[in-house]
């Protein structure tokens, strides 16, 4: 069913100018705004928010890095500079609830911003999508993806970092796909290799890249789709598929993109 709806994404500053403060801030994140591949995830998720009539807005050009990669790389000075800036902006718009697609942003807002005076309810998009499915605000056509098989890769900062393993699986279970698991899943999941600021540096000498090791494990399950729910995992798995020359047989999508496909195509 092709929808005729006109999607719109309000900006916090515009709403505030007319005295409006939405229920949720959608924290797009740097990868969500700048990474060519991951921008598609941002679009899909924003459309889903529209479709479910969620009262949200983004910071737009006022958004700035919340300092996570700096802190993980040991640069506490830079992290705290960014964090105090971000807290000031969020206070200005009276933000209480934050939704984000990035587990790293999720973790730092939820667990570490309170130490600096920033207290928010923080929701990862997998949790939010599960909720929208549970209360019927999003409905899936199970026929669309029913011939597809899917394997889910756990992001560390959602899984081991915060003990959140099931919401993304619940979303995947709603898709109508045949879902399988890698041998190392949930708390045993192997990292994609990008965490702890590895995303921004060359890896140390070794026998293999971590993302290749993980992608091989995913390929072995013979699933046609590798589902991720983290921008860094997506970069690493997509690169892993290219490295193995499998990018035509196996596709890497974010859970939000899959849900969007299952609803609208």
């Amino acid at each position: 069913m092709e929808q005729q709806i006109q999607y719109s994404v309000p900006i916090m500053a515009d709403l505030a100018a007319s005295g409006k403060y939405p229920e949720y801030l959608f924290w797009v994140g740097c990868a969500g705004a700048f990474d060519a591949r991951y921008k598609k995830v941002t679009v899909a998720f924003a459309r889903l928010l529209n479709h479910a009539n969620v009262d949200f807005a983004i910071l737009g050009s006022e958004e700035t890095c919340n300092g996570d990669p700096a802190r993980r790389a040991g640069n506490e000075m830079l992290f705290q500079m960014q964090a105090l800036k971000v807290i000031e902006i969020l206070n200005q718009y009276q933000v209480k609830k934050i939704i984000t697609c990035c587990p790293h942003c999720f973790n730092i807002f939820k667990n570490e911003y309170p130490d600096l005076g920033g207290h928010y309810e923080v929701i990862h998009h997998s949790q939010f999508l599960q909720e929208l499915l549970d209360n019927g605000r999003l409905k899936v056509d199970k026929q669309v993806l029913k011939n597809q098989s899917l394997v889910y890769h756990d992001p560390c900062y959602l899984g081991r970092g915060n003990n959140i393993y099931e919401p993304a699986r619940e979303v995947n279970n709603a898709l109508g796909t045949t879902n399988v698991e890698m041998p190392r899943n949930r708390s045993k999941a192997l990292c994609c290799g990008a965490g702890g600021a590895q995303m921004f540096k060359e890896s140390e000498p070794g026998q293999k890249e971590v993302n290749v090791e993980r992608t091989e494990e995913a390929i072995k399950t013979k699933a046609g789709i590798i589902a991720t729910s983290c921008p860094f995992c997506m970069t690493m798995i997509t690169d892993g598929l290219k490295f193995k020359g499998k990018e035509d047989e196996v596709k890497n999508y974010d859970i939000a993109e899959l849900l969007y496909q299952a609803i609208f195509k």
Binding site: E63, P69, R71, G74, K201, Q207, R214
Partner: protein, 430 residues
């Protein structure tokens, strides 16, 4: 006479043990302070992770044998306490008046002793004949291997002497005995039938003294062995960090400086005290909990076995971080004791023991901390050393320096201007 000999050996044991503990206490006094709260939740986590052994079962086969040895040790320890009282007061089996409780303790102790014997045989065989990858690695010196084999041998002798004690006791008192010895009773008929009462008493006394002296010996070897975890694991789990693994602790000294920098009018200037070093370079920069972690590590290697960096051939081994911390503290504290704060031997924990290359290979995925059966937190310490490298030495890999510069200049780890943050909106209605 027996009581006097017993008292003297007990006093020697306690004296040597107190000496070892005093040295460790001194080591703790060199570390940084960290607050502990939430005692209720700690009891729950201790019952779950330490007593119920939940994390050890993540490796099901090794886990079950470890749990059996651990639970066996707990019931057998009750019996050991009785032996100490008997030894001091000249009584025999003083706890036997507790009736059904005594039956329970002796019966389970008797069964567990034989289960431990079987488990130790399996563990020893595994170490000697199977090449388990996680028992090897650059941090696994020959000492670690001997250490393991010595501990296994002592435990074996402890259990054999206990079995001998139970069997001979049963054989002597067949008609009327205190407690229950289901396995030893079966074995008695096959092993000690036909021995004279004099010989049986000799065997009984020999086993009694062997058992108690082995306990005393073991207790005093442990503080110098990786098997010190027998004492430190439960406290370490009890004192483990309760925040989610993703959490990284704040550096309030940095916050004070930045607030003063950003709002000089409204913030008080940071106190002009002797600047505390940012992050961790030497063993006196770690918290007491980091050091306790190093004492609780028994080098099982589950952390390293699950480390993505290690699996793919990088130098990082989470276990090595704590083996190094313990070793460096041993060396450092000797020097500090002699020369005080001016002590300097041209070495530091970071650089001389742990290299920057190891630290930069960490993805902070927390597989190590998740896997550790005694709740050691490796990534937190790795991050504190990275903090030292960046904040005090300004030495980060070039990619990270570029990332820092991008965040400083345009508020993103990549080189895009803030206006471009809205670019994705143009695809919204395509």
């Amino acid at each position: 006479m027996n009581q006097i000999i017993f008292l003297i050996t007990l006093l020697i044991t306690l004296g040597v043990f107190a000496f070892s503990m005093r040295n460790l206490w001194y080591n703790f006094s060199l570390t940084r302070h960290e607050k502990v709260s939430d005692w209720g939740r700690r009891i729950v986590i201790m019952l779950k992770v330490a007593i119920a052994q939940t994390k050890i079962f993540r490796y099901p086969l090794a886990g079950i044998f470890h749990a059996l040895v651990f639970w066996g040790f707990i019931v057998i320890t009750l019996g050991s306490i009785e032996m100490v009282i008997d030894g001091l007061t000249g009584t025999e089996r003083i706890m036997s008046s507790t009736g059904w409780f005594y039956n329970f303790v002796t019966a389970s102790g008797d069964i567990m002793a034989y289960i431990i014997i079987i488990s130790i045989l399996i563990f020893t065989g595994r170490r000697l004949f199977l090449r388990i990858k996680r028992f090897y690695g650059i941090e696994m010196q020959p000492k670690s291997k001997y250490d393991a084999l010595i501990a296994l041998s002592i435990i074996m002798l402890l259990m054999l002497s206990l079995a001998g004690l139970n069997i001979s006791y049963f054989q002597i008192h067949k008609m009327e005995y205190a407690g229950l010895y289901p396995v030893s009773a079966l074995l008695a008929a096959n092993t000690l039938e036909g021995f004279s009462i004099y010989e049986l008493h000799f065997i009984h006394n020999f086993c009694w003294w062997s058992h108690i002296l082995l306990i005393f010996l073991f207790a005093n070897i442990l503080p110098y062995s990786k098997h010190f975890h027998v004492f430190t694991s439960i406290p370490n789990v009890f004192l483990s960090r309760l925040k989610p693994l993703g959490y990284l602790k704040n550096m309030p000294s940095v916050t004070a400086e930045i607030k003063y920098m950003l709002y000089p009018e409204t913030t008080e200037a940071p106190a002009e005290t002797v600047a505390e070093r940012y992050g961790v370079k030497e063993v006196n920069d770690v918290t007491w909990k980091n050091y306790l972690d190093s004492l609780a590590c028994t080098e099982c290697g589950r952390c390293t076995d699950n480390c993505p960096a290690n699996i793919t051939g990088k130098k990082l081994s989470p276990r090595k971080i704590f083996v190094d911390l313990r070793a460096r503290m041993k060396e450092y504290s000797v020097g500090r004791k002699k020369m005080g704060e001016t002590f300097e031997d041209g070495k530091t924990l970071l650089h001389s023991y742990i290299t920057a290359e190891e630290l930069w290979a960490c993805t902070t995925c927390n597989a190590c901390a998740t896997e550790c059966p005694v709740n050691i937190n490796h990534p937190a310490l790795i991050l504190d050393m990275r903090r030292y490298l960046v904040l005090e030495e300004s030495s980060a890999p070039s990619g990270l320096n570029a990332m820092f510069a991008n965040i400083e200049n345009n508020g993103a780890p990549w080189q895009y201007p803030p206006e471009d943050r809205l670019n994705w909106l143009s695809d919204l209605n395509k």
